[in-house]
C-alpha cells in the first residue's frame, strides 16, 4: 500500500495539467488535429448557438471519456467501436432532450446539429486515442480539455462572424447606428458557412506563425 501511495500522482500534476491545457493551444482539436470542422461551420453564425454547442460538446466529451475509461477493462475489443458509439449516442440524446425541455429556442436552432455531435470526430477520436487506455481522472481532464479547445475556437469564430455579419454580439447591437448612416453594411458573406472556414484558416495561420513547431515539413 505504501508504494502504491508513492506512485499516486497529485490530481493536477504537471502531466495532468498538460492534458487540460494542450488542447487549448498546441494540440487543439480543430486547428491542429483538424477534427470537428463540419459542426464548426454550421453553428458559428452567431455566438449563442456556438456557445451552447461548445457546452454540449464539453459535457459529451467529458462524460463519454469518463464512462469509456471506467468500462475500458471490460469492453471486448471486437465490439469496442460500437460500445463507444452507444455511449456517445445516448449522451447526445440526453443532451438533446434536456435542451428541448429547458432552452427550447436554442434547441430549435441546434436541432440538426445536436445530431451532428454524434458524428463529431473529436469525441470518438478522444475515446479511441485516450479513454480506452487511460484511467478515469486523466480521461476526464482530456475530455474537458478537448471540449474547451473546440469551444474556444467555436466562440472566436462565432464572435467574428456575428460581429461583422449581423453587427451584434450575443444578439445585442454593438455597432453604433451612426456607422450605418455613413454607409457601413453588415457583411452578408460572414453569415455563410464558407466564411467559418476562412476564419478557422486565419486562426491556424496565426497559431502556426507564433508556434513554428506546429508547421509540418513537406
Amino acid at each position: 500500500m505504501s508504494t502504491d501511495k508513492q506512485e499516486r500522482e497529485p490530481l493536477f500534476s504537471a502531466k495532468n495539467r498538460k492534458l487540460l491545457t494542450n488542447p487549448l493551444n498546441i494540440d487543439n482539436p480543430i486547428t491542429v488535429q483538424v477534427l470537428g470542422i463540419c459542426s464548426a461551420l454550421a453553428v458559428t453564425a452567431k455566438i449563442k448557438p456556438a456557445f451552447v454547442m461548445a457546452l454540449s460538446v464539453i459535457v459529451v466529451t467529458t462524460f463519454a471519456n469518463l464512462i469509456i475509461s471506467v468500462m475500458r477493462n471490460g469492453i471486448p475489443p471486437r465490439i469496442r467501436i460500437i460500445v463507444q458509439l452507444v455511449v456517445i449516442a445516448s449522451l447526445v440524446i440526453l443532451v438533446d432532450q434536456v435542451l428541448k425541455a429547458f432552452v427550447y429556442d436554442v434547441s430549435k436552432q441546434l436541432s440538426v446539429f445536436v445530431g451532428l455531435i454524434i458524428t463529431n470526430c473529436i469525441i470518438m477520436g478522444r475515446l479511441e486515442a485516450f479513454a480506452m487506455g487511460n484511467k478515469p481522472w486523466p480521461s476526464i481532464l482530456d475530455g474537458v480539455g478537448n471540449g474547451l479547445g473546440y469551444g474556444i475556437i467555436l466562440i472566436i469564430v462565432g464572435f467574428v462572424r456575428e460581429l461583422f455579419g449581423s453587427g451584434t454580439i450575443w444578439g445585442y447591437h454593438v455597432i453604433p447606428e451612426a456607422f450605418y448612416d455613413f454607409g457601413y453594411k453588415n457583411n452578408g458573406f460572414m453569415i455563410l458557412p464558407p466564411m467559418a472556414l476562412i476564419i478557422v484558416g486565419i486562426i491556424i495561420w496565426i497559431q502556426r506563425s507564433r508556434n513554428p513547431e506546429l508547421i509540418e515539413e513537406n
Binding site: 471490460g74 452507444v86 440524446i93 432532450q97 428541448k100 425541455a101 427550447y104 429556442d105 453569415i191 458557412p193
Partner: protein
Amino acid sequence: MYSNAYIFRYAGLMVILVAAILSSAAMLLKPMQERNEAVDKMQSILTAAGIENVNSDNAIELFNQYVTNMIVIDEKGNVIDEYKDAGKENSEAFKVNLKEQLYNKSVNRSFRLPLYVLDKDGETINIVPLRGVGLWGPVWGNIALKSDFNTIVGVTFGHKSETPGLGAEIETPVFEDQFPGKKLFNEKGDFVSIGVIKGGVENFPADVQRHNVDAISGGTITSNGVNDMIKNVLESYVPYIQKRG
C-alpha cells in the same frame, strides 16, 4: 481474449441499460417539452398576425389576450368545434394534429382543420396553420388573412432541416415580407392560392403579381414545397369561406 458468449452478454446488457436510461429521461422531460412546443406554436401564430415583441415569456398571456375564437372545420366547411373561453391551449383547435389531418385529407378527403381568429386593435385576423414537405423534412407556417379571407396580412414559416442559406431562407423576413397584400381569390371569386414562382414576380402582368411571390434561388424544392403547402392547406378552407359568404 473474450468469448463470444461474453460479447453477446455484454452487448445485450448494455442495450437494455441504455434503453432504460433514455426512456425514463424522455418520460421525465416530456411535460416540459410539450409546454415549450405549445408556447412556440402560440408565438408563431401571434407573429403571423403582425403582433410585435412576442417572446416565450409573454406568449401565453398575449395569446389569451388577442385570440378571440378557435374554430375546427371539416371538409364540407361546417364548424365542428368552437372555443371562446379562457384556457385556450386546451381547446380542440389547438390540439389538432395537422400532419394527421392532412394525411386523412389525402387518403379519404375528410379532415378537421383549425382556424384561429384574432382581434388586433379592432381588426379581425384569421390565422390558418400550414404544414407541408420541403427538401429534407417538414416545413410549416402560419398564414394570417384579413376578415375577407382573401388578403394576406402576414406569414411565418419554419422548417426542420432545410439547407442553411438556401431552402432555410423561407423563414427570413426577405421571403416572408413578400406575402402581405397578396390575394387568395381572383376577381371572379375563384380560389387561386399564393404561388411561389421563378423569374421575378415584377416581370409578370398584374394578375400574376396579385397571387405570386418570388422563389428562393437555389432553394427550388423548398420553394415548391411552400407553394404546394399553401395550396393544399388553404384549398381545404374554401368550402368554409364560401359558406360564410
